[in-house]
Symmetry: D2
Subunit: 326 residues, 4 copies
């Protein structure tokens, strides 16, 4: 089917590539003419303004906005709200705050525009592996987008299937889920990222403890000099902690066992903070997720080995560069 | 090769089965005659005492003790110490405290007996999937046991290979690792379990937040009724949090979406506590791992949904039964 | 001077009594006629509506609103905004969210009304001990209220004086502080309460550890049966942890050493949650304050001894009743 | 009465001074001849060896060891064990690990020597304010030492009395407590220090949040520039958080509002770590006390304002110098 894409950075550009490689038609816009040109060479229809992009699309239009959360996304959504027609679908695939989705969906619904929020996980690996998508919006809008979503999702792959009840929604097995009304997609994505912080921190602390197993604070007969790359590798097979984050850890350690290339100053995007805010609003204790967030706050003023590992994992799965040492 | 096995419970029995299925010869002992008989029927050589077991084995003997950590294991190790000959290998495959390993190895070395500690992960799935093993002991002892270890390990399987430096130890890729001298195997296994607590708790908190997304504490327009089984399922494909613990979570939720079958009173074995003790000895901050431990202490006096999920995951991966509701 | 008081509950009523006992004139209103009557008997001028109260006061009026934070306070503030004249002062002495103060101050300033937020600590003891007050507003408004504030504050008392720089503001020594513009009073009060949670939890955990010093989990030679009331008492003299919360703890334990009269289901008002939100907005790690908050969330589903102690302390300092056992 | 004192550092020397000022006779020893001489000038009987000190004392002897916990104390206790007679009392007033007390008491009891452990709080202020003492040992030994203990304790002072049951032990009101058998004194002192860490951290986080109330991360209308010295001062009167640690905070901030003189690298003695170990042994959750400990571990690799405040408080109450900036 046809999709308009606004924002052709790492995520938006790769989504377009994956879609076109599977026969979809993409109309694209970015404030960088170079980015538009690059995709036009690969078959996308390039445009030079939001108005032009809207003009190129057949109704009901489907437009995916893939921009940094916050002011930029808000402005584009507001602008599109003025350009679109009833029945059109406006997708925010970035990392917007879910309460903004709730508000926008309500505002746009007054004009008959259907707003869909898509939390997208997969990072730089997504173009090839596919994107795990958590989607909020009305049933009809999400249904309309199904060809796009099915293409972007990883698909059932070789992963062992869960024994699910008869009649279960088949989409989660493909890697995308209609979570509920607008906002719920980004809400689930937010919690996903909150969990991610916790998982990363659990690994980081454990490896920190192992790295200091030869600490002079210990009596000599209780010191061990452990090979962290080999430990990460061995846990990948048959252990309870096997996971994608461990795979990435093993890669990072194999390349740089002491993680000398990382400072350990760990950024945090909004999702970790919003997750804690949500926990507090619901009166749900979230000790681990909070501690993981605070370590990041703290790390930006210092560097432990644990934090270096966090940086290394983020670099691996998202290409984030956190002040490499030199 | 030939191995003596003491302790034929869930773990010991399955290890023997996996070894015999791959052509190894097992001499077995358990204080339960029935357990000995059951394995004898499948080809093991049954014995009725430690002395008899020792008598059946060719020197240098290799004996694997697979008993509950603590007094029972200690007594058997001491008893065997009196029976074995120089050059024999005594393996503790249970969850012993690593400082006990250090002490035992030193004591037994005085008699020429080689002590090897093996931290074993894999739970009830190990017989088929193989066991991830973390091994402490001398190079020659571990080398001698290689045929056994290679059989028990999961093998390289279909898991994508990490790009490791030339000359890297091939064993971690097979799922077993010689970590260092005696005690280091159980040390690494201990940290593995500490991390496991943290990973489980991160998932548990996240799902708890999602379960309460329809809390009456929230304004009505901000409430969502989320389908947790579908969320666990969708995250299994392409997301950053994909992991074996998530696979188990998806199974548990598919069967019992509200986890009504679980009380949420979560046991803890020694490893979580020892991990914190190690962190403190090394002066390494371990906020997440500690918080995860404390939630378990706390849960034994109460039940949140998060804790129910911890129980559900433990039930899935280890068959642990934690006071099911009815 | 003359003050209007709206809300004659425990806090508002006692403030009026303390003011009248020191020669100030109070015009009072409450939706309960009985409460108005009770204070009128002691010399207050009773009124039966906000309009009547406003009518009784000389300009520039000073009106103190002492109502539950949230909708009730908001409505009264809005209503008064319509009734008051330029130059009048509207005081919110409750536990309002500081961002509401910022907004209200701005709205009211457009009409020339001066808004002052006063965070008030002291609980049921305040009538006699005086109230510690943290004040936000313009310099002229706060200066105008000084006679009232000086009367309500505890005064310098017998507490040893801090060596402060020459020219330091004398008011903090008296127990009241002009913190800054509107909102800053409640902001400082909010953090005060956040700290309070942390202090309470530190004591609660310590006493919990001592209560379990005779736990059967310990080897017999390491068990102690400790007298908690005596320990609380001895720490009141010369120790580093001496504090008002410890005084209250000693009282509670002297009356009920096992705290059998408490369930341990601990409420939390908004300040603890807002403190964490503020920490997150500022990217300041707040591990201890968060943990203290989460214990309360958790406690409402269960009861440890530590939580019983929290309840006991809250009962002592604020008269809060948290589901006493019988 | 007569007391032997071994170790004439800040604590031991001041204890001797306070005792002599109140008519007790002190026989003193220190490996520094200068320290012995200094006290001899003020009336103490100086000695030049443990043997000489033992020789100067009338039986049953009472000897107070006030040395750094660990090897030094252990050696002196062992040495004295060989020199003393049945009925003599050996006091460890340092910060020994309570399990060492249990062991020593048992060993010495075999020779008829009475071992008493005294946890002593009060720091550099103790000489004048008196020491809060937590005592473990047999009833007869503690009774025998009562004249010494009563002199060292702060006494009932001007602190408001708790309403205690008739027949309550009068000693806690004086500032000393017989906690139970040997080891219990240091156990209670250990928990005291654990709590102290938690209290300090609660204040530290709160002040950190207030210091960052003008963070550029906040929208401009929500920023406040707060006067921390004044806030600490105002809370000292009438607020729930009033405490000795707050008094010290107010002093520190009055002298150096930005705490520029502190690095924020915060040491920890054993008690905080042992408290967590005890909590884990008892399966008691200790989130706040653990977090407070971990912040110190963390701080020794970096400096936040919160940690600077911890340093400042420790400097104030204990004279500890933690790498002042320059």
């Amino acid at each position: 089917m046809q999709l308009g894409m606004i924002g052709l950075g790492r995520m938006g550009g790769n989504i377009v590539r994956r879609l076109m490689a599977n026969g979809h038609e993409c109309v694209v816009y970015d404030q960088s003419i170079a980015q538009v040109g690059a995709l036009a060479e690969h078959g996308a229809i390039g445009t030079s303004s939001l108005e032009a992009l809207v003009g190129e699309l057949a109704t009901p239009r489907a437009i995916w906005v893939m921009l940094p959360a916050g002011t930029v996304t808000e402005e584009v959504v507001q602008h599109l709200g003025a350009l679109l027609d009833p029945g059109d679908i406006l997708i925010d695939g970035g990392n917007s705050f879910w309460k903004d989705d709730v508000r926008r969906a309500k505002e746009l619904a007054e004009k008959g525009i259907r707003y869909v929020d898509v939390g997208t996980s997969g990072g730089v690996w997504g173009k090839d592996r596919g994107y795990c998508m958590m989607i909020g919006g009305t049933k009809d809008a999400v249904q309309h987008l199904d060809p796009i979503l099915a293409t972007l999702a990883p698909g059932i792959g070789t992963i062992e299937r869960t024994r699910r009840p008869a009649g279960a929604d088949p989409r989660p097995e493909q890697g995308y889920l209609h979570c509920g009304p607008s906002g719920s997609g980004h809400f689930v994505k937010m919690v996903h990222n909150g969990i991610e912080y916790g998982l990363m921190q659990a690994f980081a602390e454990g490896f920190d403890i192992m790295r200091h197993a030869d600490s002079p604070l210990l009596p000599e007969e209780h010191r061990f000099s452990l090979d962290l790359p080999d430990i990460a590798e061995v846990w990948r097979r048959g252990s309870v902690v096997s996971s994608w984050l461990l795979d990435l850890t093993a890669m990072a350690l194999a390349e740089d066992p002491a993680l000398d290339g990382f400072e350990g100053s760990v950024a945090d995007s909004g999702e970790g903070r919003w997750t804690i805010n949500a926990a507090i609003e619901e009166a749900v204790p979230a000790d681990v997720l909070s501690a993981a967030l605070y370590v990041r706050f703290r790390s930006r003023q210092q560097n432990t080995f644990a934090e270096k590992l966090l940086s290394a994992m983020r670099h691996k799965f998202g290409g984030h560069v956190e002040t490499p040492k030199d």
